[in-house]
């Protein structure tokens, strides 16, 4: 059975060209970029080449790119770096309720240290209202952080509009662009951001490397303390092979992105259409058009996500869910709840995130097996008395009522 990987929002396979570019820097040119002999200087030179390629991908200047260990470090660095650099000015940060945990947990960390955080709500599509950002600004606000596109539901936020508001009042603006860079055009000037987080492994680069774009003139307190690497903004010996791979991935993305985005959008819409047509009581989560080219997220009523995933895995299909039966909290995705979904709907969510290797045939395979899986699970669901998957036929019995509602 051929495996169909549909979880590219989690991670992507490293491009063979990227691996090829990295290999010489493990054993041959392995020198420490801080060393003055030629081995070290070669490593330093290739880091600068990679930096230029990453900068080019997001229309930034090389010196505005700081390499990190990935998206999480970039987010943590941006938030904590700005917070501690501006403590004397204020203690208020504005963010949204649908951010990645790398932002939300950094906010909670800062909250415990005396900072005040506003978590803005989103509408039913997952969109942040720029006017709500404006209203939340106080004289104490030092940072606004809104993600470029959401990793779970794929909604693309109006970053340009929000940054305009931030600029008018001179507040630093950060965006987590981990899901967009390498997939859709990202231009730091058009977006109007002061900081932007990138992760390499989300677009066919290696894991363990990312970057924070820091607009010239933005002052941050360093997140890592030690040597003088990255112009004292990020201590620690540079991960040379990974940085080289990151650069190569950025280069490839620049070449392939626009065609690939068009191809994936087409596949995405076919899959969405097929799912909505073939399965009863299913909804699309996220915005229908302001959406990442590779993201499909649906909630299937009356069934739970992990049990759908396990069944898909038995069919060789890898996907993801907002159900959190494996997490310690047991609470479903904070993103889906913020969109206004009920806990049952959030637990019944499935995310398919498409990538390079996927074909129309793969979409067909999902559409072929999922209705059967849903039917099997609905037959054992206590939320439903008349299991049915295919559209048409008699109306479904009202869904199960929670215990407290079962009166009379």
């Amino acid at each position: 059975m051929r495996r169909i990987y549909l979880d590219h929002a989690a991670t992507t396979p490293t491009h063979p060209e990227v691996v090829k570019a990295m290999l010489p820097y493990f054993t041959g040119a392995f020198g420490n970029p801080s060393s003055i002999y030629s081995y070290g200087q070669e490593a330093r030179a290739v880091i600068e080449e990679a930096r230029a390629k990453v900068a080019e991908l997001i229309y930034a200047r090389s010196e505005e790119i700081v390499f990190t260990s990935g998206g999480t470090e970039a987010d943590n660095f941006a938030l904590e770096g700005i917070a501690y650099a501006n403590e004397h000015k204020g203690n208020h940060i504005i963010t949204t309720s649908i951010e990645h945990h790398a932002v939300l947990e950094a906010c909670k960390f800062l909250e415990r240290r005396g900072f005040r955080i506003t978590y803005l709500p989103v509408d039913g599509y997952g969109l942040v209202d720029p006017q709500a950002v404006k209203k939340a600004i106080t004289t104490k606000t030092i940072l606004i952080s809104v993600m470029h596109a959401n990793n779970e539901v794929g909604t693309i936020e109006p970053i340009g509009e929000i940054s305009k508001i931030a600029r008018e009042v001179g507040i630093c603006f950060h965006t987590d662009a981990v899901q967009t860079v390498g997939h859709i055009p990202v231009n730091v000037d058009e977006l109007g951001v002061d900081m932007l987080s990138v992760s390499a492994h989300k677009f066919y680069g290696p894991k363990g490397v990312g970057a924070l774009y820091i607009r010239k003139g933005t002052r941050l307190v360093p997140f890592m303390h030690g040597g003088e690497q990255e112009k004292r903004r990020r201590a620690g010996t540079e991960n040379v092979p990974a940085i080289v791979g990151f650069g190569r991935a950025a280069e490839l993305a620049r070449q392939e992105m626009s065609k690939e985005a068009e191809r994936l959008t087409n596949l995405r819409d076919k899959l969405i259409k097929g799912l909505l047509e073939q399965i009863d009581h299913i909804r699309l989560n996220g915005h229908p058009t302001k959406r990442l080219p590779n993201n499909v997220n649906v909630s299937v009523d009356f069934v739970e996500g992990e049990s759908m995933l396990l069944n898909l895995d038995l069919e060789g299909i890898c996907a993801s869910t907002g159900s959190a039966c494996s997490s310690s909290s047991l609470e479903p995705s904070h993103v889906l709840l913020a969109l206004g979904l009920s806990p049952e709907q959030a637990h019944g969510s499935l995310r398919f995130s498409l990538g390079k290797e996927n074909t129309e045939e793969d979409m067909g395979r999902v559409l072929k097996v999922l209705p059967g899986i849903v039917a099997k699970l609905r037959a054992m669901s206590p939320l439903l008395k008349t299991p049915r998957t295919v559209k048409g036929g008699p109306p479904l019995n009202p869904p199960y009522l929670a215990k407290d509602d079962r009166k009379g």
């Binding site: 059975m1 495996r3 009356f302 069934v303 739970e304 992990e306 049990s307 396990l310 895995d313 038995l314 069919e315 060789g316 159900s323 959190a324 039966c325 494996s326 997490s327 310690s328 047991l330 609470e331 479903p332 009920s342 806990p343 049952e344 637990h347 037959a379 054992m380 669901s381 206590p382 939320l383 008395k385 199960y400 929670a402 215990k403």
Partner: protein, 131 residues
């Protein structure tokens, strides 16, 4: 190869793939209903009792792989047992019968135990009323 690196034991996957005793029961002697939508697991367990012995058990479950497998296993375990014996079934014995569960999924076995206890309590309450 899917399934080789499974989160679950082979036995859990076997019960997940081919769950035993699925469905509603007509005129059950006891119904257990536990769980809640927030944590994503809801179990309904039905028992038929004759002369103090559980002669049949069925279930309906909304939940993850472990929730489905533990429901299936607990309905298998109670069949033919007396009420007293059935009350001794704990979440640990259900999990052990499935060759263990990942620690994070032990709450599913607790749910299975609670569903069974709740069905038995329902039966005892009803039989008291009738008697």
């Amino acid at each position: 190869m899917p399934g080789v690196w499974s989160l679950y034991s082979e036995k859990v996957m076997e019960h997940f793939k081919n769950p035993r005793n699925v469905g509603e029961m007509e005129n059950p002697d006891g119904i257990g209903h536990v769980g809640n939508p927030v944590c994503g697991d809801i179990m309904e367990l039905y028992i038929k009792v004759n002369d103090g012995t559980i002669i049949d058990a069925k279930f309906k479950t909304f939940g993850c792989g472990a929730a489905i497998a533990t429901s299936s296993m607990v309905t298998e375990m109670v069949k033919g047992k007396s009420i007293e014996e059935a009350l001794k079934i704990s979440n640990r014995t259900v999990a052990e019968a499935l060759d263990g569960l990942p620690p994070i999924k032990m709450h599913c076995s607790v749910l299975a135990e609670e569903a069974l206890k709740s069905a038995i309590e329902d039966y005892l309450r009803k039989s008291k009323k009738e008697g």
